[in-house]
């Protein structure tokens, strides 16, 4: 088999039928371009959602799950008796993490832990004049919280320092502040479910770009919240932990649970919906892309088949003059390969162009997501995959017609 002559013949065949070659190429081009665009966009969405979820939530959250289910005493004593109990009150259980601050100190010293923020979180009502909105308030050590969530970059107005110097300060989610119609320096009444009330001053607003946070959450000093709740200075309800490697959080969370006996929730569990959505989007991307490529493959198969039929006399002449089956396969497979490769390359360029256009298309996600254009990832590996898929498809589509060409019986053709 001589690839040089085979490629020379293949090139001549392709150039002789330029339009047909172009049509076959465009099939691959379209398939690859769509593949690139779709995968870049879908992965962009995945990455964006994952990032915003991961940024705004702790890798591990440790808290005391208040479990109020308990059987009545009489049920415990006489499980088979005919027991009727009305209005059994649940047990009063505190959400407190016992020795929480000491636990936080221990966890902070462990390797692989990026930062720990012990905090006290509770439901509240925010009142400003006639407006009443429910939300949450987190009493935090703002420096520690900043290390976990990079709050400085999330601030829309005010400063973190203002919270440290003002015991009655409040840094509020930007959407919540807008709904309450408060600005920097305005006062808000905070009412706890337990009855405590306090007037706090807005010293800053933040936006994570995640609706559930920006809509409801405020930060205050840990001591202030303890005071409103009338608790002692060691009372905390949550420990937020960030790891250096988020993937380690899942195992580490389980270890913490057995170590301290408190409930832990890792980011993967907390964001199951996002991760499931990610899997579905990935699946969708591959299904659509492979369908497109298979369609392109059939296009090439048809065109190559037609070429073989058109060239059947030439094949017979070539075989008569000493070209063997492998040469013939090479001639037609090289044509398919050329179509796949150039069509694929063109597809990569067009795919890049489409992805780029998508990435600058304005997209208003409202308050829910903090993006202005569609999220798109430009990763070289997708382009490599696209080209590989394109070539594999065309080689498969070209192989069968080539083999048919190799099996042409020259005698029956040449006898006329």
């Amino acid at each position: 088999m001589d690839l040089h002559i085979a490629s020379q013949i293949a090139r001549t065949h392709l150039l002789a039928k330029k339009r047909q070659t172009l049509v076959a190429m465009l099939g691959v081009t379209f398939g690859i371009a769509m593949f690139i665009t779709m995968i870049s966009f879908m992965q962009g969405v995945n990455q964006f959602l994952e990032d915003s979820a991961l940024d705004a939530s702790p890798h591990i959250r440790m808290y005391n799950e208040v479990n109020t289910q308990r059987p009545g005493l009489i049920e415990a004593l006489k499980p088979n008796g005919f027991n009727v109990i009305y209005h059994q009150k649940p047990k009063n259980e505190s959400a407190r993490l016992k020795n929480g601050l000491i636990m936080a100190q221990h966890i902070e010293r462990e390797p692989g832990v990026l930062g720990v923020s012990p905090q006290i979180a509770t439901q509240v009502f925010y009142n400003n004049g006639p407006i009443q909105l429910s939300g949450t308030i987190s009493g935090v050590d703002i420096d520690r919280e900043n290390r976990l969530y990079k709050l400085t970059t999330r601030l829309k107005s005010g400063s973190l320092k203002a919270l440290k110097t003002n015991p009655d300060g409040l840094i509020m989610g930007s959407v919540l502040a807008r709904k309450l119609n408060v600005q920097l320096g305005d006062k808000v009444t905070v009412t706890l479910p337990g009855g405590g009330t306090r007037i706090l001053r807005v010293v800053g607003t933040f936006g994570f770009g995640v609706g559930t946070v920006d809509n409801t959450k405020s930060y205050a000093n840990i001591s202030t919240v303890q005071e409103i709740m009338q608790r002692d200075p060691s009372y905390i309800t949550d420990i937020h932990i960030k790891m250096i490697d988020p993937l380690q959080a899942i195992d580490y969370g389980k270890r913490l649970r057995t170590m301290y006996g408190y409930y832990t929730e890792d980011w993967a569990t907390a964001n199951t919906a996002i991760l499931a959505g990610e899997k579905i989007r990935n699946m969708l991307t591959y299904v659509v892309s492979i369908t497109l490529l298979v369609v392109a493959g059939f296009g090439i198969y048809n065109i190559m088949n037609m070429t073989v039929i058109n060239k059947i006399k030439d094949i017979a002449i070539l075989k008569a003059t000493g070209f063997d089956g492998k040469d013939i396969v090479a001639i037609f497979l090289l044509q398919a390969l050329f179509i796949g490769f150039t069509g694929g390359l063109l597809g990569l360029v067009i795919g890049f162009g489409l992805s780029y256009l998508l990435s600058i298309t304005p997209f208003d996600a409202g308050d829910f997501l903090s993006i202005k254009t569609f999220p798109v990832i430009f990763a070289p590996k997708y382009y490599g995959m696209g080209l590989l898929f394109g070539i594999v498809t065309t080689v498969l589509a070209g192989y069968f017609p080539s083999r048919k060409a190799a099996q042409v019986d020259p005698v029956s053709i040449l006898r006329g």
Partner: protein, 234 residues
């Protein structure tokens, strides 16, 4: 100086479609080096079948074919392709050249496939063969632009490119007008005079009369394998 370049021994061939039918019946003959041989006979007598069988492209037969000291019966396709490339040149009745290629490329292709000489040398040799048949001026023209007669002459140049042991022609003048037929025949005659072995199937009596030896076939058998008179006179 005469040596046997082709020997066919007891060749039998059957067609199975639509019914079993014996096309060739116990064909045995030899071809000497430098012979210009014509196989004649009525349509359907099996002369073309015999030629394609000798050409190694048809391997479905009983008997034995030996060419240039090599037994060709029972070889695999790749070996036979290689053998055709090196030892055989073909001139067909209908299909002459590859239309997308230039005249020169058509002539060069089997030479490039053989790979005996570098491309430059093959090109020179191809030009030389084209000069021999008087087509050198058309070397750069696309093959599809040539007339049938011109294409057939180029096909002869292509057959010659690897200095084959035997040139085989299946009705080489069958599809040409009188002037072109004579032209092509003149080239064959010329080659034969230079010692080239040629086997041609033909039903053109003028063509057959000009050859050294005529094998006449009927119903799959050789009925007459005489040498023409002028050869005997030599």
């Amino acid at each position: 100086m005469m040596s046997t370049v082709l020997s066919a021994r007891h060749l039998n061939k059957y067609f199975y479609d639509p019914d079993k039918f014996q096309v060739l019946k116990d064909i045995t003959f030899d071809v000497q080096s430098g012979e210009f041989l014509a196989i004649v006979g009525k349509s359907g007598c099996g002369k073309s079948t015999l030629l394609y069988l000798l050409s190694t492209m048809d391997t479905d037969y009983d008997g034995q074919v030996e060419m240039a000291g090599t037994t060709l019966t029972g070889r695999n396709q790749d070996f036979l392709a290689r053998f055709r490339n090196e030892h055989l040149g073909f001139v067909f009745q209908f299909h002459f050249l590859l239309p997308e290629f230039s005249v020169l490329q058509n002539v060069m292709l089997p030479g490039l496939k053989l790979g005996k000489y570098p491309e430059k040398v093959v090109e020179e040799r191809a030009m030389e063969k084209l000069r021999l048949i008087g087509m050198a001026d058309y070397a750069r023209k696309p093959a599809s632009k040539l007339s049938g007669g011109q294409q057939q002459r180029v096909a002869i140049a292509r057959a010659l490119i690897n200095d084959p042991t035997i040139i085989m022609g299946d009705e080489p003048t069958g599809n040409l007008d009188r002037a072109n037929s004579e032209n092509v025949f003149a080239i064959f005659r010329d080659l034969a005079a230079k010692g080239q072995t040629i086997i041609a199937v033909t039903h053109d009596p003028d063509f057959a009369a000009g050859t050294d030896r005529v094998i006449e076939m009927s119903d799959g058998m050789i009925i007459n394998g005489h040498e023409t008179k002028d050869r005997q006179a030599n």
